[in-house]
Symmetry: C2
Subunit: 106 residues, 2 copies
């Protein structure tokens, strides 16, 4: 978990959007994530976030759940995540990423 890896992981709008979505600390299933990219690309971006130490992924059966590592980040790089999130909010970076609305299909 190095600074340059974290900065590189946060230099992509889609990944910033994912982090913004997870910034409330809730664990999210991958099926809830609505992005304009294919599932293989989404898998890649989530791998980058995990490799950089920004998220933790838990597998349950065939489903995967992801959560932001807020505490670990704050301990390692105090204030960094908050500053990035505030900046991302003011610029509305990553708004292309959304949550599934309503109940899951079926």
């Amino acid at each position: 978990m190095t600074l340059t890896d974290v900065m590189a992981a946060l230099s992509d709008p889609l990944r910033i959007g994912l982090v913004r979505l997870l910034s409330d600390g809730h664990e999210r299933g991958w099926g809830e994530l609505r992005t304009p990219v294919s599932k293989s690309t989404l898998s890649h971006h989530l791998r980058v976030l995990r490799a950089a130490g920004l998220t933790r992924t838990r597998q349950e059966g065939t489903r995967c759940y992801v959560v932001l590592r807020r505490e670990d980040l704050h301990a390692r790089f105090p204030g960094l995540l908050d500053a990035v999130l505030a900046a991302a909010d003011s610029e509305d970076v990553g708004s292309q990423v959304g949550l599934a609305t309503g109940r899951p299909p079926k």
Copy 2:
């Protein structure tokens, strides 16, 4: 001056080293900068920093001087630069970049 550009500019150890060097607010001549890369590569990195809005470059005769835009950055992305600098200090990122020691040759 967008967030993703700033983050991308700060995802390279050498550029972080340059920013750390300039973090005292002093204006530096390019000749003072000691890096392990060729001058064309250094010119490229300084161009990236300038394009991202992190620095301002002033030309005087054949010499160029560069300065960090602390105030502008703080106004646009409050706390971001300080958090990155603190993290870079704790990890000693970009220590390969230094200042010319002693008097200029001749």
